[in-house]
Symmetry: C3
Subunit: 138 residues, 3 copies
């Protein structure tokens, strides 16, 4: 059995957005007990990740780290038509994930205690991001 669903996330610009409850709700509604849940983002300047979900300092540290690794406005980048965050957004997306696949057990995503599903917006400006969730199983 396959169940597919598209939804949108309105971001307020660079930062992380917790999708865990949206995804869990869709899995529950799909009525699949055992299988897999696939989450996909249809963009190359925002990405997905599983990350620690308890301490907000993790997200701040993660942003500090990534900003240092992939500096906005780095002079080695020539692709900057949309600004200093343009090329870094593509690289941040490639270094993280555009799709996540999660086991479904007992009718829900079997995430670990500290695992949350996050959208990471890499652009400064607010964007509307399309997400496609596909649940398959029995």
């Amino acid at each position: 059995m396959i169940s597919q669903h598209e939804f949108q996330v309105a971001t307020k610009g660079r930062g992380t957005y917790d999708l865990s409850s949206d995804v869990q709700r869709f899995v529950r509604d799909a009525g699949i007990e055992s299988g897999l849940c696939h989450v996909f983002i249809c963009h190359t300047s925002a990405s997905l990740m599983l990350c620690e979900n308890a301490d907000p300092s993790v997200m701040r540290d993660l942003e500090s780290f990534m900003s240092r690794q992939v500096p906005d406005g780095d002079p080695i980048f020539s692709h900057d038509a949309e600004g200093p965050d343009d090329m870094p957004a593509h690289i941040r997306s490639i270094l993280t994930q555009s799709d996540l696949n999660l086991p479904v057990r007992n009718g829900r995503c079997a995430l670990g205690t500290w695992q949350g599903i996050y959208l990471w917006e890499h652009r400064y400006a607010p964007h509307t991001r399309r997400i496609i969730v596909t649940v398959q199983g029995d």
Copy 2:
């Protein structure tokens, strides 16, 4: 329903190779309307990614960035039997993807407007790379 297919890509050495039309053609031929398309590369020195597909400067910037992050011939690497690009190729593969999973809707991969499917060859020399595509769904 599951449909599986293996094909080869002859690379000309380090650089990116657009697989989007190959993958889309296979999905179309599989006759699956709704489901998932999985793309896998059977190697540890070339990898896969979804990346911006419109401006060639993105690929050049991406290569500049990765070459700086994972320098060829870095003296911290001892695994260099096949040359200065040997260990960097493994690390570049690990920092990107060996498998991509893409939603299939209306009989095709539901990629975003700017998303292309790329093979990234990390070795200097030309290589023959094996790709396995698996489409499943209804």
Copy 3:
């Protein structure tokens, strides 16, 4: 057909642990000829990767590289309640994979000759890590 299985790996602290034979055994026992095998780690401070499986120096070089990229005890990190390896473990997990999806052909994971499936423990201390394997196909 879907077959799901959970097992645990007792790590001895930071380092890589080869899961290839565990995963291959489960695929064989599942009796699925053609499809996909999904491997998931239920943690945010240990991760999964496909990596070269022949020369032990690859793992040492990989650890040297990652330790330099994401330094333990880096003063930019404020999340250090569990020690200098706490935040780096989360970042290392995000830069690698929490889930891998592998093609199944002829009743086994169709890995390339040099591809091994590894758990990468990022914490110094030994941990018990939960892995969920899901095999689906015909």
